[in-house]
């Protein structure tokens, strides 16, 4: 028995939880018990019973969940306290390490003790389960829900006649508009989701859902599942695509580890990073180094207003090229990976292995036991790297 209480307010987390639970349940031969607080998640998993308990059964399972959650929280709290104490212990040791009045051997000893203690803390990271997500998920949406969602989308103007692309991006309005125009000219219907961005023009064939709030998770899930492919910028939507096995094209990525697609049907394009000190663009190779991640960490985690790097969004030409590659990939079953793309994958794996011991971020998002993903960097960028 596998209890699952997905957080529907976080689509990515929810998707990953479902896929991981499905994989685990299939392995162990158990059932998934879904404990839902509000919105229902209309999914079924091939070969695994998905049960939504009611009445006394639900109360009992909720109590079990709460107990397990409390135990997990206590463990997490304990780990946090342990890490905090270790860090403080290290800081305290470092106060003495620089004291030149102390014997050299003692300072060396203190230094090695301090470093050993922090290494212990660094290794405790919840890594993104890339291997577990590798195989296409066995999750599918329930037929009733599919019917209902389809009628909702038809009401919104998305008809069955044209293949659908879900577009989620905060890119420059002119670029977004040009890319959506291109998709429509290629025969797609486009559903735009994500945060609302002022100034984006939507031509015929594009349905703008960004201003419709609130959008239920189930609707987004259906949109993503019904799409020929998705174009997204956020990790949330990329990870939702893993749940419903939709090909994904991640654009304007700033971090090659986070954005690297797990599945074969995933592509990603990196933003152009610029070193704001020297005003020079940095290479994609430089985006796999420790100084780059240190700066990214400062911006994202420590809330520094500006890091040492700025980013330029992918251009219309780049995105058009990426869309063509995505279409070709879907058409040929992702058989035509170039030499440069596989070399880049290898490079990411090597960089991840080298950086994981010194960067918690890479340890979390980097290669999972040597596996970063079966997806690929868009070809024109991979060619540039080599």
């Amino acid at each position: 028995m596998l209890l699952l209480r997905p957080d529907v307010s976080q689509p990515a987390r929810c998707g990953i939880d479902l896929v991981a639970a499905a994989a685990h349940a299939r392995e162990t031969g158990g059932a998934i018990y879904l404990l839902l607080d509000g919105e229902s998640i209309p999914v079924s998993v091939d070969g695994v019973p998905v049960i939504t308990p009611h009445g006394v059964h639900r109360v009992w399972l909720s109590a079990v969940w709460r107990t397990a959650s409390a135990a997990r929280d206590v463990r997490a709290w304990w780990r946090h306290v342990e890490a905090s104490v270790t860090r403080e212990w290290r800081r305290e040791l470092r106060r003495h390490i620089g004291d030149e009045r102390l014997p050299f051997e003692l300072r060396q000893r203190l230094r090695s003790t301090a470093e050993a203690s922090i290494r212990r803390v660094r290794t405790e990271t919840n890594a993104f389960p890339r291997r577990m997500l590798r195989a296409p998920s066995a999750v599918s949406l329930s037929p009733d829900f599919v019917e209902e969602a389809r009628s909702q989308l038809t009401a919104l103007g998305i008809t069955d006649g044209r293949p659908l692309v879900t577009f989620e991006s905060r890119t420059r309005p002119d670029i977004a508009a040009a890319v959506m125009d291109f998709l429509v000219s290629e025969g797609y219907a486009v559903a735009r989701i994500g945060p609302s961005t002022e100034g984006v023009r939507c031509c015929d064939g594009v349905v703008d859902l960004t201003t419709r709030a609130p959008r239920p998770l189930s609707l987004e899930m259906f949109l993503v599942s019904a799409s020929a492919f998705i174009m997204c910028e956020s990790t949330d939507v990329q990870q939702l695509a893993y749940l419903v096995n939709t090909p994904s094209l991640t654009i304007n990525a700033r971090d090659p580890f986070v954005a690297y697609p797990v599945r074969t049907n995933g592509l990603f394009a990196l933003s152009a990073a610029i070193d704001l000190e020297s005003a020079q663009p940095i290479t994609i190779g430089d985006m796999l180094t420790q100084p780059y991640f240190r700066d990214l960490h400062k911006q994202q985690v420590r809330g520094r207003r500006r890091g040492s790097h700025g980013y330029r969004d992918n251009t219309v030409e780049e995105l058009t090229e990426a869309i063509k590659e995505m279409r070709a990939g879907i058409a040929d079953g992702w058989a035509s990976e170039s030499e440069t793309q596989s070399r880049f994958r290898q490079r990411v794996v090597e960089a991840g292995a080298a950086l994981a011991p010194i960067s918690a971020h890479v340890a979390e998002w980097g290669p999972d036991d040597g596996f970063i993903g079966d997806g690929r960097l868009v070809r024109f960028q991979a060619d540039r790297v080599s």
Partner: protein, 598 residues
């Protein structure tokens, strides 16, 4: 000749007072500029050198070093800073008192942002919170919400400020310079140590005045914690702020106007419009809008907004707006982010001056003037360039945007631009902004009158034709002529309170590190353990260095003496044996001879 000591946080503040300082020097005053922090990021040191070279009556020098500057204080609480060897230097009394002073002043600044006027200013409050050691916001966050609690806390902090002694180095510095008047700017930085100069001046009977440098100084930063004898402000609005927000008695406030903007009234374009447009890369046949960048606090990530703004112009569908050129002028202290802006992606758009241009380079000010002068209108988030545009009578626009809410609605000074009597047309969306542009770029006599009224009220309160620089210089001279004040030595209760106050200072010094309580408890036993271990290592070293070689030497000496004595004994034995044998042989021979003779 009178002596004026002008204390500035760093040489960057010269730009606010350059003309006034030169005017004071020209009228025979000896003006001594002291800088607490040296800074050359935007060529401020060059400005100081240039000013000092302009008159023999102007001198620039660093202010006395502090044992624990605000920066040192902040670095100590940075949990991720990789520093070693804090144990090397024993903390002095001065360190402790300076830590206490910075703590008290930061807490006062923190409390101010709980006042009702600052209910939307959560980012301003967050800015102080980040600087405070973490224990204080945890303790004060909830306690500071009731007004009565804030009043009690402020009174207590005022008492603590009173018992913090003046800094000997500053007292000596003021005695040596012996100024007739001490001018201080900006004084209101978060946790500012310039307060110590005002306290020392008070103690020594030197008259002091705060010069409020910019329009946001009294609302978006810290408090005037110890009142100087005078406060010189730009306009009546600042005079009201000084009274209402800082408790300055109105009789201490002098309104002079903003000397910073005087040159904008006198300047003329440095070249023709065609030349200017060609230089910056715009089409001279079309009007253009000037987008003025804001500071890093107001707009940390401004490029995406500017891109959206440009797209809205280009795709507005209104021919007059679509065809407008766009010139972007990054804020000099927030320009790096504009490296990511791709002006080639937008037709008839350009950045000028190029990102990274030295603000002290020739033509920088002229370029700025020309940019505003030739523009059809000026757009910005919240920046002083909008005041400059009002001086030149340009239509001014802004767009309220959620990402800049902290820098627009979250600041009080923004209201001067957009509130009653303000000159900036505000839109709540880009679509509304585009419509405003369409209608607002026409000549509008009503707007010209509004601009003039704003400038008269905000920039030149003594009349549009009255430059503020001479008024400022006269105000300074008039204050100087009032002569010294009565010295205020420390009272007996202040001296008595310093004894227990020292413990408070030690606590502030320790808590400034922002460490958990158990660390302080553990520190002494841990130091003791490390010192004990060090003793062991030292004894071992001594043993290795001296003990073992001595023993070895002694053993060798003993072996050698044993060996030598045994050799000697053996030698003696051999010789004695030989001698004995010889004697025995001789005796035997003698005996034999005697027997034979018989």
């Amino acid at each position: 000749m009178s002596r004026i000591l002008f204390l500035m946080l760093h040489p960057g503040f010269i730009r606010y007072y350059e003309g006034a300082i030169q005017m004071l020097a020209a009228s025979g005053h000896e003006v001594n500029l002291a800088f607490e922090v040296s800074r050359d990021k935007l060529g401020e040191d060059v400005t100081a050198q240039r000013l000092a070279a302009s008159s023999p009556n102007i001198r620039c020098e660093p202010a006395p070093d502090r044992t624990e500057s605000v920066r040192d204080f902040l670095v100590r609480s940075d949990r991720d800073a990789m520093r070693t060897g804090d144990e090397r230097r024993a903390k002095s009394d001065q360190d402790a008192w300076e830590s206490l002073a910075t703590t008290v002043r930061l807490i006062e600044d923190y409390l101010r942002f709980f006042e009702p006027q600052f209910r939307d200013a959560s980012t301003l409050r967050g800015r102080v919170e980040k600087r405070l050691p973490r224990v204080y916001p945890q303790l004060l966050g909830a306690a500071a919400r009731p007004a009565a609690a804030r009043r009690i806390m402020r009174a207590a902090l005022g008492r603590i400020e009173a018992i913090i002694p003046t800094v000997d180095g500053i007292d000596n510095f003021l005695r040596e310079r012996n100024p007739d008047l001490l001018l201080v700017t900006p004084l209101i930085e978060l946790g500012s140590q310039q307060v110590d100069y005002v306290k020392s001046a008070r103690k020594l009977g030197i008259r002091s005045a705060l010069c409020v440098a910019s329009w946001d100084n009294l609302t978006s930063k810290g408090l005037i914690r110890v009142l100087p004898d005078h406060v010189i402000v730009w306009n009546e609005a600042q005079a009201r702020e000084a009274a209402a927000l800082h408790g300055v008695p109105p009789e201490r406030v002098t309104v002079t106007g903003s000397q910073t903007f005087d040159r904008w009234f006198a300047m003329r374009p440095s070249r023709s419009r065609e030349d200017f447009c060609r230089t910056v890369g715009l089409d001279p046949s079309r009007p253009y809008l000037l987008y003025t960048g804001s500071s890093v606090f107001i707009a940390p990530d401004e490029v995406p907004f500017a891109e959206r703004w440009l797209t809205a112009l280009r795709y507005s569908g209104i021919p007059r707006v679509t065809e407008l050129g766009a010139l972007i002028r990054p804020h000099p202290a927030n320009s790096r982010q504009w490296y990511t802006f791709d002006s080639a992606a937008f037709p008839n758009a350009a950045i000028w001056p190029p990102v990274g241009t030295d603000p002290n380079s020739p033509g920088f000010k002229e370029d700025f003037f020309d940019s505003v002068y030739y523009s059809a209108g000026v757009v910005g988030i919240n920046t002083s360039a909008q005041i400059e545009a009002s001086i030149l009578g340009r239509p001014i626009f802004t767009v309220r945007s959620p990402e800049f809410a902290h820098g627009q609605e979250g600041t009080l000074h923004f209201q001067y631009l957009v509130g009653d009597g303000g000159v900036v047309q505000v839109a709540t969306s880009l679509a509304e902004h585009v419509k405003q542009l369409d209608s607002g770029l026409e000549g509008d006599p009503g707007r010209d009158e509004r601009n003039r009224e704003f400038v008269r009220r905000f920039v030149r309160p003594h009349g549009l034709d009255q430059p503020a620089t001479p008024i400022f210089a006269q105000a300074v001279d008039a204050i100087r002529q009032l002569g010294p004040t009565a010295p205020h030595p420390d009272s007996w209760w202040v001296r008595a309170a310093r004894v227990p106050g020292r413990s408070l200072a030690d606590a502030a010094l320790a808590l400034a590190e922002g460490r958990p309580g158990w660390v302080y408890l553990m520190r002494q036993p841990m130091s003791l353990a490390i010192q004990t271990a060090a003793l062991g290592y030292r004894l071992s070293d001594q043993w290795q260095e001296h003990g073992r070689p001595t023993i070895k030497r002694m053993r060798r000496a003993a072996q050698r003496s044993w060996y030598e004595s045994s050799r000697w004994l053996s030698h003696r034995w051999h010789r004695s044996k030989k001698k004995l044998l010889r004697v025995t042989r001789d005796a035997r021979g003698t005996a034999r001879r005697l027997v034979r003779l018989r």
